[in-house]
Amino acid sequence: MKKLINSVDSVVTDALRGIAAAHPSLRVDLENKVVFRAGAPRPGKVGLVSGGGSGHEPLHGGFVGHGMLDAACPGEVFTSPVPDQLIEATKGVDGGAGVLHIVKNYTGDVLNFQMAAELSGDEGVEVATVLVNDDVAVQDSLFTAGRRGTGATLFVEKIAGALAETGAPLAEVARVAREVNERSRSFGVALTPCTVPAAGKPTFELGDTEIELGIGIHGEPGRTRAPMREAREIVRTAMDAIDADLPLSGETLVMVNGMGGTPLIELYIVFAEVEAYLREKGATAVRSLVGNYVTSLDMQGFSVTTCSLTGELTRLWDAPVETPALRWGR
């Protein structure tokens, strides 16, 4: 394993020092491991808190700022944050209008956020929670852990963040967040595994002509292994899975997301195929993102996330945002 780190144990803290140094628009609480938007809390504004394991950068710290999150809590690599962090963040962004927790649906994230929400509630902060579970590769049922939260997290954070910025009440912000999640679907593909620093070696092995279909964002193997083929065919498999779950139509927000080790030139090739697929289905990619947004350390591969837009969602997507990783309109 070769990684640009000082030690396996200091990965998250060292990265937070870098984030603090690079972004004067953020205030990083190194002790509690919370990335705050400078000037938080904003009186009267609903606070948005998200968090999760590290290794998915720029998610979440890179999405803290005007029009998006008020605080992000990075856990250890691929390990959800602990309640203390989340409580610190929740109290730190509550401007009296309550706080929305944006939680990716993983047992660990759900449990730690749940504890933090209860304890913050005890301290008088009103907390609402939205669970993100957009990954169509995973069977959804009452008897399983349910679908994973992946790329749609970014959509939820951006759109709910835009609404919160207008001064909307917590219930409204939570409502739009859930609506975005319900209208979003994702599917991921890995060309290589990734290497968790503490594990020291790749999370799985993959032959030179094999890929994993239906992966999440934690280096886990996918639902099936398949032979490598051309980008167009891989995209078709991913989009078919999405379309089978929620038929694609109308104005669509699309993200082609790199898993961390994929060159941007390949992501653009993938996007060209995604866009063509949508057109074939009568849908239109009216808004899009192509790049590394919700990553899995050094994994090569991509995920595609779609969100079926409404007028309101499009307006909120277009609203100004000013964060390290997403920035427009300001």
Partner: protein
């Protein structure tokens, strides 16, 4: 079993987790996200430090402190789950200075129901419950059978061990491994394996 005994237990756990850290992580790499060993090592190292700093005076206080520390330091699924288990056990012990095998059994049942309340996993879902539940049952049976404390802990450890091994052929229905669907079959559940470690450490603490 007094406060010192439970402190020894935590020492034994911390040592066993350190020794098995990579093994647990590798189990987690196969069907999870390759952090279970690191998570528990971080957690029990912190728990040991917390105990050294606070010197709790009763078994109950000690276990509640361990549980809270795990919740505060581990993260992931195992942090809240193990943290709750230790806290519930500690709360069940109340102010008692000495814990009998019967009280330990009550404590373990409280731990199990805490884990199930939080995680909603049933036996057979391929989680730590698959080691914790049989261990709790074996201890209860041993108490009913009037076995000596060492024998009772031996029985619980064996049951946990066997429960962990029995997760291999199961398909996961809870936790990260469930995302793999049928591909989760054929691997031991890391949380069940670490639960077996915990009971092995309990046995070791008793024979100190």
């Amino acid at each position: 079993m007094n406060t010192q005994f439970f402190a020894a237990w935590i020492e034994e756990i911390a040592a066993a987790v350190r020794a098995q850290r990579d093994h647990l992580t590798q189990l987690d790499a196969a069907i999870g996200d390759a952090d279970h060993g690191a998570n528990l090592d971080r957690g029990f190292t912190a728990a040991r430090e917390a105990l050294a700093g606070a010197s709790p005076q009763t078994p109950g206080a000690l276990l509640v402190l361990v549980g809270s520390t795990l919740i505060r330091k581990v993260g992931g699924a195992s942090g809240p789950l193990y943290g709750t288990a230790f806290r519930e056990m500690g709360k069940a012990f109340g102010e008692a200075a000495e814990i009998s095998p019967a009280e330990l059994s009550t404590g373990l049942n409280a731990a199990l129901s805490g884990v199930q309340r939080l995680g909603a996993a049933a036996e057979g879902d391929k989680t730590m419950v698959d080691a914790l539940a049989p261990a709790a049952q074996a201890l209860a049976q041993a108490v009913r059978d009037g076995l000596k404390p060492e024998e009772a802990l031996e029985a619980a450890a064996a049951a946990a061990e066997q429960g962990a091994r029995a997760t291999v052929p199961l398909q996961a229905r809870k936790g990260r491994a469930s995302y793999l669907g049928p591909r989760s079959v054929g691997h031991e559940d890391p949380g069940a394996a670490s639960t077996a470690l915990l009971f092995g450490a309990l046995k070791a603490a008793a024979s100190r």
